[in-house]
Point group: C2
Chain length 533, copies 2
Amino acid sequence: MNLRSVYHSILTPLTFIERNRKVYAHKVAIIYGEQRFTYQQFASRIHRLASALQDKGLEKGDRVALFCFNTPPMLEAHFAVPLAGGVMVAINTRLTSPEVAYILNDCGAKFLFVDTELAEIIRPIQDKLETVKYIINIHDIAGFNPVDGDEYESFLKTGSPEPLPWLVTDEFETITINYTSGTSGKPKGVMYSHRGAYLNSLGEILETNLTPNSVYLWTLPMFHCNGWCFTWAVTAIGGTHICLRKFHPAKVWQLIAQENVTHLNAAPVVLISLLNYADCPQKLATPLTITTAGAPPSPTLIEKISAIGARIIHVYGLTEVYGPYTVCEYQSHWDNLTTTEKSQLMARQGVTYITGDGLRVVDKNMNDVPADGVTMGEVVMQGNMVMTGYYNDPEYTAKAFSGGWFHSGDLAVVHPDGYIEVRDRIKDIIITSGENVSSIEVEQCLYRHEAVLECAVIAVPHAKRGEAPKAFVTLKEETTATAQELINFCRSQIASFKCPIAVEFTTLPKTSTGKIQKYLLRAKEWAGYERKI
Amino acid sequence: MNLRSVYHSILTPLTFIERNRKVYAHKVAIIYGEQRFTYQQFASRIHRLASALQDKGLEKGDRVALFCFNTPPMLEAHFAVPLAGGVMVAINTRLTSPEVAYILNDCGAKFLFVDTELAEIIRPIQDKLETVKYIINIHDIAGFNPVDGDEYESFLKTGSPEPLPWLVTDEFETITINYTSGTSGKPKGVMYSHRGAYLNSLGEILETNLTPNSVYLWTLPMFHCNGWCFTWAVTAIGGTHICLRKFHPAKVWQLIAQENVTHLNAAPVVLISLLNYADCPQKLATPLTITTAGAPPSPTLIEKISAIGARIIHVYGLTEVYGPYTVCEYQSHWDNLTTTEKSQLMARQGVTYITGDGLRVVDKNMNDVPADGVTMGEVVMQGNMVMTGYYNDPEYTAKAFSGGWFHSGDLAVVHPDGYIEVRDRIKDIIITSGENVSSIEVEQCLYRHEAVLECAVIAVPHAKRGEAPKAFVTLKEETTATAQELINFCRSQIASFKCPIAVEFTTLPKTSTGKIQKYLLRAKEWAGYERKI
């Protein structure tokens, strides 16, 4: 007899739904508009989807792509695809046709689920999809023509609501592949394991204090690192998912009030639009925990959020680490500080999650930088919260894992209390006369000028200084400012070696998801020079 | 390069203190009387203890026994022993000298830490300890002569406060051995793994909702399943441990008020003594979560606890499953029920922890019993919350793991909502004319008689019925009752086939921890008959 099987069960998010379909059979798992699914119904739909996929030929390890919004099918697929033995690939809904084609071909998807509103993205590339055998349309809203293929609810009906045996035999097997946004080239397929997804889910519950009474509002896209693993985490704790097809401030405030939402996740820029919206209440009826990432929350944001009775948790991570990896863990002795002081501390990226392990900030020789709040180094990570590698790209994986640590490409300092603070992307840092200049710091300075709508600061070649900062700026409508005015403004705010030596007025190149492509700006400036752009 | 090491880190409670010595460096980790240790100090003491053990010859896998109360050294050992590469064995402080000698020899302990108050238990057996090489005395209170050996604080000083490299290379390595209380024979050494301890700790945090603001009072002995893994769990979340050398109601109420305690664990019998104590407040200043196990909380208990502003969580488990394994997960729709209805539901043992997996109630052929709330079967468990086996006893392990599941020896029913309810120990069930009679049910009936102080009901041989119930009863002082009176009392309450056919007035045989040894009662009655007693 294999005794080990008695005490070694596989860590996988499949346990979450398997447990809660029984424990919370009659509790509401998903709310979407007028729709209500109990945990039992949620599980039955998952079983149907999984068995329907198997019936249509899904074999172990096959990739199943989802190109859709935050609707119930997306949540269902997070459990049904691994239950069927497949690997889920959720695709960013803001991508263009060629980008989507690249991902579908790169991962070799056999199945594709597509929201009919996005059919127009798929239609032009349909004959370029080399591996897709089945397309299932999600008819969530009327008015759009589907792609040739099945319809989601009919497809579900072909499956059985009965539980299926699990096919996962090793907890390091891939559960999902998430493509990076590719600000510097082709998107890469980041592989998540069952074990990693399980532990990251528990990490999210612990750090954001989800409980069975939690009501989680889906403001964050589920295609983004599997919704930072909250797709699994909220299910694990037996909370309630409030699906939201697309973000809109009015809709968000309405749902917060109507459903007594306790948790949501959003980037600071989204939160600002939310708090500045007319419907923002003076005071929330239910305490709300907002987890934010992507940029540090400003003092104003922290103040506004606390004024309405919400609390903010600042986290930091990357696609390669299942979303959030560090948290600016709040210290009770900060209570006595002013909002400005507090916000300075809370703007830091912090420390590892409870379920995390290795977090270091290192120099080029992999030595820890001193915890002086000044010396920059690269953030590197190790442990169960790190991806298992890039799909079909062992070379790039080995590079990202060099020295036995995952290299984030982010530059940070370590403060004396051990909290890290990210200063820049490695490629974006400007090294001028041997001094490091954070492009983010210069950009933040420019944003304080009233005429600046958008800007990007990059390193350009400089005869004496090696390289120097240059700014690319888009002005707000009906404002004016000369290059010299902006340079002088910077000089009044930051050290002169950090100030741009030139300002170019232009529109900024962006990915379809809205991220500025600095590498394109650099490519032009560094033509004929040697620099890894 | 071994890429796997980048994304596979070992699940071990050592990560908890490694993280929080940095994250909560200046936060209070332990309060004990006038003593206060921050997480940094806690970690330094752990490092000192671990390195001192290594200096004195501890080698990987060596057993280190602790025979002491709920004082800081006990908490420190929970991390220091595995950090040094050892296996911790915490011994029940209520055991007798021969029992302690048996355990120390069975596990082959090289080191023994002993509270001086318990020196008198060790002294008579000191020359019988075959493997113990070092004894370290914990001088917690004055007035007791130590055993020959070192003194704890001096021993710590011989170690270094610097972090040590971890020696664990496989997460299934043994971290602790916990001896069963042995109600039916020799105690058995239950092995916990690093992985199991890690996951069970997260399970406790999730099920009892520990947060970094939690203040946990040590009413439960830490030698009991490593304090149900709360030794590690409270440390993992960065809460505060309030050590309590020995349970005393006055002291408990004082600490609850003084330290704003948020969590404690105790059996219902302990809670009753606590709530009936004069110092019990009308209303607690801080919300308190009480986790209870060992017996179902009565309606009165549930009512009293809720009246003072606390909430109760009913859990069930065994030493073999790291303490609690199931929880009577509260359903929000129970809010509308009467206290009596609610307490009936809350008296059930419930469902698996989030971190648990397999839980079944099976017949002799390992088939699930129907979920009818009537049919009894054995509770069997499987997964990461199950021990890795009995120390040095593969035969007994194989028996306990027969059919690929851990056999709890407890009989339960499954209710239609999937919640289990434990009815009896398998050996204690009485099979009379083919009917199962729960000895617990008959005992509960007898306890309702005003003259009964203590009782035990067992099966005795019966010519016609195969076996039949017999009661052993101790009467309260200054009360009287005849055997026939008690039998008649039972007949007025429960079906006559469940009623004792005989009552014997006697004092009951007990283990040194106070558990009634029914097997000794049975041995006498079944002499000359064939029955596994």
